[in-house]
């Protein structure tokens, strides 16, 4: 148990010393020595020592459970007003692949009210079984109710894997579920794989603002839980010929003790299309120069059927609301097309949009960092180009 250095293998190169953030490693007589009181067991040194394999972290399995009792892949289906969220179809599509690879069943778990037909349709989208919790208390998202019912579902169905969309809702309540069932939860995955032999889920996710990818496993705990980033995976395909099992649990009023009360749900009109959902995002930064000019972006977004994003600089200057901010302290987006206007491309901003399918950058500074990741770089004045683009697309539309 713990971290150790093989004195035979260590050549005293010092790479591990440089890799250690808490500065817990020093070289003594040309061998790495780890100060256990400072070591956080982050594993960076193990990585740094890949070539010599002198450092190892051994893990003893104590807190786990009997993993053989768990099987099947479950997908939490998110809904609003009875309509299923786009991300849920993506998770369902991914879940289908994993279940097939494991030769197990795919179970969809739905919480809602008066939406039986919609829930049952998930079978046509790939679920072998749908477990539907129906009741007025399930109608809209509430932390305690969702956490309690999904926990109950896990205890009854014992799924080996539980997936949910990495949305405001999914990332709010699933950590509570994981805390209760002592499961391993991996947040915001962009790739999911399974090891069919070991029945392991491998969730790969960006960390350090997307500068590092980490693949996480939970070998001794069940279920293995993960939230999945929206817009990364392909949605499930509808197949009218599919059949499956439908289970309905009626949830009586007040059956779950809910401590939070939803006083009001406010849809913000300003963001008619939300940037996390949009296929096209038109974003502006410092180069847009004023709140007035940000309206040019709105016009362009409208003509393209897209949403408006912004860099931190534009938000901090008060040109546009925070809900539009893309980047490390804002939202992460991966649209099909991202048009960056007057955005220089800070590391923080790029962390929020670099996984977009196609990036067009418009900037008057030909050395702007954003050009390093743009598929099409336009060196020019965004304030002139953006309105001209709007006019061009309006024209193209009217012709079409």
């Amino acid at each position: 148990m713990g971290i150790s250095v093989s004195l035979e293998k260590c050549i005293g190169c010092g790479l591990c010393v440089r890799s250690c953030a808490p500065k817990a490693i020093s070289l003594v007589d040309k061998k790495a020595v780890i100060d256990l009181s400072a070591c956080t067991m982050c594993g960076a040194c193990v990585d740094a020592c890949k070539r010599y394999e002198a450092i190892t972290i051994a893990k003893e399995n104590v807190g786990g459970c009997d993993v053989s009792l768990y099987a099947n892949v479950a997908v939490f289906i998110e809904q609003g007003d009875g309509h299923i969220h786009g991300v849920s179809y993506e998770v369902l599509g991914e879940g289908r692949k994993l279940a097939t690879a494991l030769q197990e069943k795919l179970i969809a778990v739905v919480l809602g009210h008066d939406m039986k037909a919609t829930a049952e349709e998930l079978i046509k989208y790939g679920a072998d079984k749908v477990v539907y919790f129906d009741g007025p208390d399930c109608k809209s998202f509430r932390d305690d109710t969702y956490a309690a019912l999904v926990t109950r579902f896990i205890e009854e169905e014992k799924p080996a894997i539980v997936l949910a969309g990495g949305t405001a809702i999914g990332r709010s309540f699933l950590p509570k579920v994981a805390a209760r069932v002592y499961g391993g939860l991996t947040a915001d995955c962009t790739t999911l794989e399974v090891d069919p032999e070991k029945k392991l889920l491998l969730g790969t996710r960006p960390a350090f603002g997307g500068n590092l990818m980490a693949t996480i496993i939970a070998p001794h705990h069940r279920p293995q839980l993960a939230t999945v980033r929206h817009k990364v995976m392909k949605p499930a395909v509808f197949d009218a010929s599919r059949t499956g099992e439908m289970v309905i649990h009626t949830v009586a009023n007040g059956a779950v003790q809910e401590r939070t009360t939803i006083v009001d749900i406010v849809k913000e009109i300003e963001s008619t299309i939300n940037i996390a959902e949009a296929d096209i995002v038109v974003a502006g930064g410092r180069g847009m120069q004023s709140a007035e000019n940000m309206k040019l972006l709105r016009d362009l977004a409208e003509s393209l059927g897209g949403a408006v994003g912004a860099s931190r600089a534009a938000v901090d200057n008060g040109w546009i609301a925070y809900s539009h901010q893309v980047g490390q302290t804002g939202k992460t987006v991966c649209p099909k097309l991202y048009i960056a206007c007057g955005i220089s491309g800070s590391v923080q901003h790029m962390a929020g949009m670099s996984s977009s399918e196609f990036i067009i950058a418009i900037n008057s500074d030909s050395n702007a960092d954003i050009f390093q990741i743009a598929n099409l770089g336009i060196v020019g004045n965004a304030l002139e180009i953006v309105p001209a683009l709007t006019a061009a697309f309006k024209k193209a539309r009217s012709v079409a």
Binding site: A178, T261, G380, I385
Partner: protein, 262 residues
């Protein structure tokens, strides 16, 4: 009112430097800072203190040098600071951290409100806040962009959702995680900095907290890193300049070819 703010010390830059020869990470050049989202949490606690009156305690779990982060919080105006630190805690994932930190918070006595930043910028998981709430069995609201009202035993907040916001109320004690929009954190005052230098920061160890050693550290963590790698850098494509008409034509034809417009 007793407020506890959970903070984390993180690397000051998320730009990971790579040693090109070995393909490994270089982290030694990066200074440690208070996780930016936690600064909003500290600020919000201080604002409640100024308006309603409160004692603000900050707590962190980490190696001994994490006291620097606690001192920064004291310099901003927090009253007391606590370090949850023990060799047994090393290697904790979000589950084990939630468990251990919740034991630390329990040891501080009566708590009315716990405030956390929505996530840490190194791990980006956003899981420890809800984990702590669950372990302490108290209600919680994530992604808080505004506290509308707070009394001795209730709080009403705005929770940012994808398409707007929810107004949510819950009884206290409770936990909220806050986002950037909630405030503008203050800078440390000179007086605060002086106080931060001198203040005694108690270390809470596994033994003092009565932590179940099978539920903390590497041993108690369900998840482990299987592998980590630096993603392939996205390369730049074509870069062109010219008069506005030419550029507009180029962009228009590129977008129309993509067929993304519905």
């Amino acid at each position: 009112m007793n407020i506890v703010v959970c903070i984390k010390q993180v690397p000051g830059s998320t730009q990971v430097k790579i040693n090109p020869e070995t393909g490994t990470l270089i982290r030694d050049s990066v200074e440690a800072i208070v996780n930016p989202f936690d600064e909003y949490a500290i600020e919000e606690a201080l604002r409640i203190k100024e308006i309603n009156g409160a004692t603000v305690k900050v707590i962190t779990m980490g190696p001994p040098q994490a006291t620097d982060a606690l001192r920064s919080a004291i310099a901003m105006g927090a009253d007391e600071a606590f370090l949850v630190s023990d060799r047994a805690f090393a290697g904790s994932d979000t589950w084990a951290t939630s468990y251990t930190l919740s034991r630390g918070i329990k040891s501080l006595g009566v708590v009315d409100l716990i405030i956390c930043g929505k996530q840490a910028i190194d791990g980006d998981t956003a899981q420890v806040g809800p984990g702590v709430a669950e372990m302490l069995n108290i209600p919680y609201v994530a992604w808080v962009r505004k506290i509308e009202e707070i009394t001795e035993n209730r709080i009403r907040v705005q929770r940012l959702m994808e398409d707007g916001y929810d107004v949510v109320e819950m009884p206290l004690p409770g936990l909220i995680t806050v986002i950037k929009e909630i405030n503008q954190p203050r800078l440390a005052s000179l007086k605060g900095k002086m106080r931060a230098k001198k203040i005694e920061i108690p270390t809470l160890t596994a033994e003092m907290l009565g932590v179940d050693l099978n539920k903390t550290g590497l041993k108690g963590s369900p998840t482990q890193v299987f592998r980590s790698f630096v993603p392939q850098k996205r390369g730049g494509g074509e870069k062109i300049s010219g008069d506005t008409a030419t550029l507009v034509e180029k962009i228009t034809s590129t977008i129309l070819e993509m067929k993304v417009i519905k």
